[in-house]
Symmetry: C2
Subunit: 322 residues, 2 copies
């Protein structure tokens, strides 16, 4: 599919919370946090996801210099149950009348939305698509679950996707997603829907906080991601050396390092931002893309391999010529 | 786009709650409820959205006689915040490894998902797509807001979408969506996300219940839906007589009747199920489709016009040759 990312931007909240600062709240040492999660510091937002997302979106829209004809929210957790967050992004951006909706696949929302957007563009249904991922995971931290509480950080990132014109080399080469419901309980926020409803008077604060079985996810995901990676390379007749940048979901320090340790990728090619941002849920992948772009690690025509996992458990991967 | 609905099914919970029964809970007479909302009775589910959706999905999968290669949840309110509800549908259906995610545009989720699915199929990205809308709006009824409490009902409906083969006349002819954020506060469930989080200890039960400004929505929506309808007919060179069935979102008795009263459509062509089902949020449109199909009001090649509104406020419409 002949699509091109014409705008990229991100927003990192100003306030930095170091793992030393966090250690008292979760009753673990700074060393425990850093060695267990790979996160030295993370951002904590004082503004809500709609304002965060709009800040990232403005940068991407300015770069692309367009008005979008579709706004996709591709975040892990919304501002509220109804309306979906895309509406609030559009309101923050001062726009009107532009079709807006949300795509939700937790940490894979961005990849799923990027693939959906490519289908729309190739088909001519929409031409200038704004995708925003904005997550404020620190709102849902459970201090009684130190590992996930230490992992989560806040960020927003956005891209504009358009049709690649003739002679441009930008394209989406391949995309795969699989969902394995036996992993449904490995990452949860159990409240906020029809399952555990406050009207039952039985819900607790913990029902509305992140619950992650880190080792369980790692065990299930590492094998499946590794198989996916091997197949993607084989099907596209590529070796790890052909990939210019590997942009993984920043699930944990261990998960990001596994791509070089087991996947055969040069560590320098794997974008690793988790030490300073934490796991920013769905914003994690586009944030890593935007930071790589800002740091001039990415140029037109580069072959990017995106890969990651989402609650479900889902595995997603994409090969994209930037 | 050459797509064909090859499977249809729905699930209506057994338990019927009449407006007479509801009247005491909301301190309004049966007459007030029926004249104000058009709802004489609605279903109240004892099972959760995933089980409801799976019941509808099984019927549609049996009719289509396929295994899906994509499962889309297209509901208004999820089972829980994470993972998204598509994962729980897949688990209930006993399936594994099938890519699954959610599309969220409140009451328009089904139309948005149907359009996305058509793009995927036309593009060859997926070939056998299961779309499930399952909403349990009665879980979020606010008895202090009699109108919305009386409107909401529970239901699930599902379709299977596939490529239309040669010589088949089934196709998606047109689709339009617009989102107007000045209507963002007309329909809300304010809790369940980062906005009003239980960790603030300031949230109330009401924050997690439906809040609808019925007259405000009707005022804003009637004009916009009417303009959309006129444009859709004009752009496709059609008159109301060319449409075999008009399937509107069952927003309220008044909203459904407006299509014949102001839109020039013969009342017999407008599927009106709200008196016995209420407003079933995103399940409302596919439920009306499935009931029309069950009642033999729909045959291959018929021209269907779907139209509706969603929180946002969004307007959506689709012309589809069944």
């Amino acid at each position: 599919m002949n699509i091109k990312i014409t705008g990229i931007g991100h927003y990192l909240p100003e306030h930095i919370e170091t793992s030393k600062e966090l250690s008292a709240k979760i009753n673990k040492s700074e060393d425990w946090i850093v060695s267990r999660t790979g996160v030295k510091e993370r951002r904590v937002s004082k503004i809500d996801v709609d304002e965060m997302g709009a800040k990232a979106a403005r940068i991407s829209l300015k770069m692309a210099n367009i008005k979008p004809d579709l706004i996709l929210n591709a975040s892990g957790v919304g501002k509220q149950v109804i309306p979906d967050t895309s509406v609030f992004f559009q309101r923050e951006l001062g726009l009107n009348g532009i079709p807006s909706f949300s795509i939700h696949a937790t940490c894979l929302s961005f990849l799923v939305a990027l693939h959906a957007a490519a289908n729309y563009i190739e088909q001519g249904s929409y031409n200038k698509i704004l995708i925003i991922s904005s997550d404020r995971g620190t709102r849902g931290r459970n201090y009684n679950e130190p590992e996930s509480a230490a992992l989560l950080g806040d960020a927003a990132a956005a891209i504009v996707l358009e049709k690649a014109v003739e002679n441009e080399n930008s394209k989406l080469l391949s995309y795969k997603m699989e969902t394995w419901p036996q992993g449904a309980n490995l990452t949860e926020v159990r409240g906020g829907g029809t399952n555990l409803h406050p009207q039952d008077n039985k819900t607790t604060l913990e029902d509305n906080l992140f619950s992650m079985n880190g080792p369980g996810i790692y065990k299930m995901a590492r094998k499946k991601v590794y198989e996916r990676l091997k197949e993607d390379l084989k099907e596209n007749n590529l070796t790890p050396n052909d990939i210019n940048l590997l942009i993984p979901h920043q699930a944990s320090g261990l998960a990001v390092k596994a791509y070089s340790k087991y996947g055969g990728f040069d560590e320098k090619k794997v974008i690793n931002i988790i030490d300073t941002t934490g796991n920013c849920v769905a914003a994690s992948i586009p944030l890593a893309l935007s930071i790589a772009y800002e740091q001039n690690k990415l140029k037109r025509g580069d072959l990017i391999y995106f890969a990651g996992t989402g609650a479900g458990l889902s595995i997603g991967s994409m090969l994209l010529k930037f």
